[in-house]
Point group: C2
Chain length 173, copies 2
């Protein structure tokens, strides 16, 4: 399967999580062996020779792609989670949502100053979570080589919020 | 690295998530390339020739191991999530916690009657979530070949709650 075909497998769910939003459901892509392999392989091709020490996956769908990618390219895996989920000492970054704020955490010893990491999530929307994740990584002194997404919603300008980072997405809407 | 060595990499966190509980923190195992590879490879060796159509990963740490395993053995990946997270129509199972109840969901079209699946999570504690996950899978008519865990807390008797299922764990406490 080609990367260009992945778009045909992603499902539109109208009015989720709230009225007026069309949710891009990537679960059919996960369930399709060839589509999932194509997705992970596309990331592996891009990052396999970049000296990546760790894949940082964003809770929770970023764990699926990030776990597979880390395995495939012989990197470690580091979870970034919503506040209160990680058991050890953490760095914490608070960021703005449309209404209110949210917080993400990463263990303070998860990555170090000489580490090169790639950030993985399923979807780039407004970019708030990914930007906060990059800030967590930089607090630890590590280098964000790139932020990688399966799907990017171009009209939400997440790339603008991540303007200090390299950004790569397989599929654009 | 041997599976027997994985235990040395898992970290005890006292009093998390509440006083008196010693949390088994698997994030050092994820961050260690060799340990993560050993873990996924051990599952792949066990399930690679069992005709597995889908790996069902339990939200959220089960996504990391499950995603990597699905990729490795050429299976699809299916997420089971806490209530309200999945966008499409779902089966739902409510199950008892120590205090109160919880709910897990799986998309109704995620697996079908001829599918053979393996359930993956990081930890088998009391077994409530895993048992509910098996029930979701059986509602869809699919067959649970086995439930696979990285860590099993033997003293919590999760295996007894899963007595109708095959259960396999890499590490026991």
């Amino acid at each position: 399967m080609e990367v260009a075909q992945l778009k045909t497998i992603i499902r539109d769910i109208p009015d989720f999580p709230k009225p007026g939003i069309i949710f891009k459901d990537i679960t059919p892509l996960l369930a399709d062996v060839e589509a999932f392999q194509t997705t992970v392989d596309a990331f592996a091709k891009r990052y396999g020779d970049k000296g990546i020490d760790a894949v940082v996956g964003i809770d929770a769908r970023g764990f699926i792609f990030g776990g597979a990618l880390a395995y495939r390219i012989d990197a470690g895996f580091v979870p970034v989670r919503k506040s209160g989920k990680l058991p050890h000492k953490t760095h914490l970054v608070e960021y703005d949502l449309e209404y209110g704020t949210d917080k993400v955490e990463m263990h303070i010893d998860a990555v170090g100053p000489n580490h090169r990491v790639v950030v993985v999530d399923d979807l780039l929307a407004t970019g708030g979570t990914a930007e906060a994740t990059c800030e967590l990584i930089e607090k630890s002194g590590a280098t964000v080589v790139e932020c990688a997404f399966v799907v990017e919603l171009d009209f939400l300008n997440g790339r603008e919020k991540l303007k200090n980072q390299e950004v790569f997405s397989l599929i654009h809407y």
